[in-house]
Amino acid sequence: MRGKTLLLCVLVSVTLPFLPLLLWSVADKWFYPALFPQAFGTRAWSYVFTTAGSQILDGLFTSFSLALMTTIVSLLLGVPAGRALGLYDFPGKKLTMLFLTLPIIVPPLSVSMGLHLWFIRLELAETFFGIVLIHLTFCLPYTIFVIRGVFSNYNPDFEAQARSLGAPPLTVIFRVMFPVILPGIIVAALFSFLLSWSQYLSTLIIGGGKMLTLPILLFSLIGSGDRPVAAAVSLVFILPAFLALLGSAHYLGRTGLKGIR
């Protein structure tokens, strides 16, 4: 009984903020103080997919490719580093960890403003690659921490066993290590993807307004005051992450996404 009350409380508090987004995205006329829209319509949605279609869809594509690229690079660099920190003891390990927590606590804005001038000189500003780099400053440390956690519960004897059974080193990595840490890799990937996906200010500073990601488009929509369209784009903005959550919930079971923010 108490479990059900708890469930209800959590359900209501979590879903409440989605209510105005859903309502506004299908509202054609909704004047104060009407509790519900006076007229429903698909104006906002058709605007998103047709009138401004190319812009929103382009933004979706830009955001998606940025987040994907950032995630891939984060994993490629973060898995080895997380393995070193999770599995081995070495002098300077604590210092390394301390150093890696800094990019997590220091906001990207401080770093982006410092790097901007040099990115301009190196012709990295306003480029896809430049934004991937700035997103890496915080996505990579987060990835390393998730992967480190995975490796601290990992038994490397599995690898020794596989080698003794005749598996060469590369096969051990792909056939043994990779499947064992896969749930952790998925969490780290989602993590990195979401961080990059929802990033606004650092993209704006380094992209100089030229890289129109979804959050940047969304900001300008709020400025324009068109609530239905802003609500619809907001929903588009949360959709991929929500789908990823649905997909991972099945795959990760009870492990879930703990630790992601």
Binding site: D157, F158, Q161, S164, L165, A167, P168, T171, L182
Partner: protein, 337 residues
């Protein structure tokens, strides 16, 4: 010829030498156990033979070929770890077939081999079971099957019984023994449990202080230990010298100062001086300790103030403080070389 030979194997871990100058050879089809206390470096030896650790010195031959420079995956030796370490993302048959897949064996043939080994290890029908659906004993058997199926020149087993409870341990011990007889796989078996080693092996190698102390048949090590430490390892603390006062008194020992031992269960104990068949050779003592251990009771008999004899006997009718007579049959006494 399928065999393993170690020549002057030396293993270091960091600065400390764990194994010094160890030499050992194992014949085709033999089952040899490496017995030693925990932390003696037994696992390290197996890992070195398997190619997972590099020795600091010495040579390893498998099939009479030096394998020092071969990586683990190229050595014809398979190590079975203490934990089953079954890959959780593969089912039973896939786990057993892992090594065959690495050898790129044709699927038909691999399946045939897997089925046969499942039969031998009493796992028939479990092919597509998930790992987490298996009991501890089944997991251990799959681990054994996964090594056996590769028919390696030598199978290295690292305490495969230590994760099992008492009853399963006996079953698994039987299984390893029968499987070994059936497949004639050469095995090197590591354990800290003397009864395991004695029960299962053709030969026992006792590892103490980083080197082999004694190698021989189980009976040899048990009844004819090479030195007092070996005797103590097998639970015999009756180490005496022929110059000890009580042995002098008994009068049936050599006169030169030699150390000897007698198994506690071989010491005869009587409550009356007239009972022993040759009372001349019996000596007097007082029962000072008595511990009931189940099948046998462990008695401590003080023969002088400082000299004590441990006696194991069934259903003793003695009490602490009682005066008893002990006799050590001549043929049960073992003089250290």
């Amino acid at each position: 010829m399928r065999q393993l030979e170690l020549r002057n194997l030396t293993i270091r871990y960091g600065e400390t030498t764990i194994i010094r100058d160890l030499s050992l050879s194992i014949k085709n089809g033999e089952i040899v156990s490496l017995l030693g206390p925990s932390g003696a470096g037994k696992t390290t030896i197996l890992k070195t033979i398997a190619g997972l650790l590099q020795p600091a010195g010495g040579q390893i031959f498998i099939n009479s070929i030096s394998v020092n420079h071969l990586p683990a995956e190229k050595r014809d030796a398979v190590l079975i770890f203490q934990k089953p370490l079954l890959f959780p993302f593969l089912n039973v048959a896939q786990n057993i077939g892992f090594g065959l897949k690495m050898q790129k064996m044709a699927r038909r043939e691999a399946e045939r081999k897997i089925d046969r080994i499942l039969e031998i290890t009493e796992l028939a029908g479990l092919n597509s079971r998930k790992i987490h659906q298996l009991s501890g004993g089944q997991q251990q058997r799959v681990a054994l099957a996964r090594g056996l199926v590769l028919e390696p020149a030598i199978l290295l087993l690292d305490e495969p019984l230590s994760n099992l409870d008492a009853e399963l341990r006996l079953q698994m011990r039987e299984l390893i023994y029968t499987v070994q007889r059936q497949t004639e796989t050469t095995m090197l078996f590591v354990t800290h449990d003397q009864s395991e080693a004695l029960a299962i092996s053709d030969r026992v190698c006792l590892l103490l202080d980083g080197g082999l102390r004694q190698t021989g048949s189980p009976e040899e090590l048990f009844y004819s230990p090479a030195d007092p430490e070996v005797a103590r390892f097998f639970g015999c603390d009756n180490i005496f010298s022929s110059s000890d006062s009580f042995t002098q008194q008994a009068g049936n020992f050599h006169t030169d100062q030699k150390l000897f031992t007698i198994r506690p269960e071989d010491v005869e104990i009587f409550s009356d001086q007239k009972e022993p068949t040759s009372p001349r050779h019996a000596f007097e003592g007082t029962v000072t300790g008595m511990i009931f251990e189940g099948r046998l009771t462990r008695l401590t008999v003080s023969v002088t103030e400082k000299e004590h004899v441990t006696v194991l006997c069934r259903r003793p009718a003695f009490h602490i403080g009682q005066t008893v007579w002990l006799r050590m049959p001549k043929d049960r006494i073992h003089f250290f070389p």
